[in-house]
Amino acid sequence: MNSKWRYGVAGISVALKSVVLLIFLFPFVWMITTSLKTFPETMIFPPKLLPALPQWSNFVTAMQSGPFLTYTKNSIIVTLSIIVIQMLVMIPAAYAFAKYKFRGQHFFFALVLLAFMIPGQVTFIPIYLMLADWGLVHTLWPQILPFAANAFGIFLLRQYFMQVPSEIIESARLDNANEFTIMRKIMVPMSIPALATIGLFSFVSHWNDYFWPLVMTDSTGVRPLTIGIAMLRETEGISNWHIIMAGNVVLVVPILLVYLFCSKQIVKAFVYSGIK
């Protein structure tokens, strides 16, 4: 009786998970199959899931519609630079907020939280004016510099660092470790899951960002992939969905790859904080 009940619960759980999985997977499947269709196949009603013959040439068409090599290069440079700079700023900041007592501590942390709450739509005009004044508008910096300090990351990492026992840090100090050694040898290795999570969030949001690069860049040479793909859309009338989806597949592949490598760490980050 008892085991039957348990099987029943497990069955419902599997069924519910399958439904959720389907809901999440279907748009991806639809994107991939659409990217392999011909134009008429994207338009027929009722729609068909699979193309009669996979049209791999859609990818060539999408990639040849603009300087995609430049776009890809810009996307990679911008996203990686943001992550590297964020780590350099975030780790010492979070360490200081978590383990130091200093005057104005709460005030400065409140400033960080404030930065975390203000959306980009509010700040983009002053930032653009400032960067234009510095003559940086035709470089990649406007897409990198404003994100150097990741307020969300500092917040999350501080919580994580606070869980590291102060005794460990004190014993390291007794062994003559300086602050940078403590960060490098103790804080960072103990918070890999948190850093991976923050890094991945950062990666996904900046890799996929459309609004910020659009308002910050005026010339083709410094633009990322997302704008290249937006340019595949039709201004008016019916878009070539198969070409757009081919572009989207190209855009999404790096995210899936990174996620594959990071997913374990991310689950760990949440599980760890859950136990505490």
Partner: protein
């Protein structure tokens, strides 16, 4: 295209009239403008530095997809036609996004020489006095306003200045099904009354359900505006401070409502175009 004026702050804005849908890809009109299969040419004009001695003219536009390719072809043809001016065209997002970019670029002094601008946004920038008066420029090349069709010169003149020129003003086309008209012995309608008669004659209603509607058109603000103007009304009053119509608006909507009630007019369902 004129030579770049020394005062770079002056933005010369060519008028751009949007079709109903400003945002890309949200249109449900039946015309297929994107069925072309040819490989798109690079849809971004490379922002390479022009040869020495050439004047650079920056041109911002909102055309992506096939329209983007057409505009690139025009730019290329113009650049190849002479060796004094190099036009650099750059896609700046849809009409609203282009406006946002202009609003931040003007104070930042990074604004382009020429930009596409959706007609509804011209007054905004004209009142801010950031648009050049094109009359002296036209005169300096032996041209004048009279070289343009008067019907296309709405929304371009403010405070005695010519602030924009018609470039891609939207023009609705009437598509007819000649077979169906011939079956009923109907002529192509040219007035409201004729449209009502013809559309009603084409309606097929069976068991309280419409099997065939007589006529359809998308809903966008400029259709009713046209109907108001056709009755000699004006959308805005002469001072530009309020409505310039009264009974004309009532008549236009009563006409549409009457057509709709008999199946003579069908408004397709779908997303409301972003610019209304």
């Amino acid at each position: 295209m004129k030579k770049k004026s020394v005062g770079m702050m002056v933005v010369i804005l060519s008028l751009l009239i949007s079709m109903l849908a400003a945002c890309a890809s949200n249109n449900n009109t039946p015309e297929n403008t994107a069925g072309g299969k040819e490989t798109p040419s690079p849809s971004a004009v490379e922002s390479k530095t022009p040869a020495a001695g050439k004047t650079t003219v920056n041109f911002w536009h909102s055309m992506s997809g096939n329209n983007g390719e057409y505009i690139d072809k025009m730019i290329k043809a113009y650049n190849a036609s002479q060796d004094k001016v190099e036009v650099i065209g750059t896609f700046q997002g849809n009409y609203q996004e282009t406006l946002t970019k202009l609003q931040q670029a003007v104070p930042a002094k990074t604004a382009p020489d020429i930009s596409m601008l959706e007609r509804a946004f011209v007054p905004l920038l004209a009142e801010a006095e950031v648009l050049a008066d094109l009359n002296p420029l036209l005169a300096s090349t032996g041209m004048s306003e009279d070289d343009f069709l008067p019907g296309l010169l709405g929304n371009v003149k403010f405070n005695g200045q010519l602030n924009a020129l018609p470039f891609n003003r939207s023009t609705p086309l009437l598509h007819i099904n000649k077979t169906m008209l011939d079956e009923k012995g109907l002529k192509i309608p040219t007035t409201w009354e004729e449209l009502e008669t013809v559309a009603n004659a084409l309606v097929i209603k069976e068991n309280g359900e419409y099997k065939r509607y007589g006529y359809t058109m998308p809903y966008a603000s400029w259709y009713p505006i046209a109907m108001i103007v056709q009755q000699k009304g004006a959308f805005f009053n002469e001072e530009g401070t309020g409505m310039g119509f009264d009974q004309e608006g009532v008549a236009a909507f009563e006409f549409l409502k009457k057509m709709q009630s008999t199946g003579a007019l069908y408004y397709p369902r779908g997303r409301i175009p972003a610019i209304l």
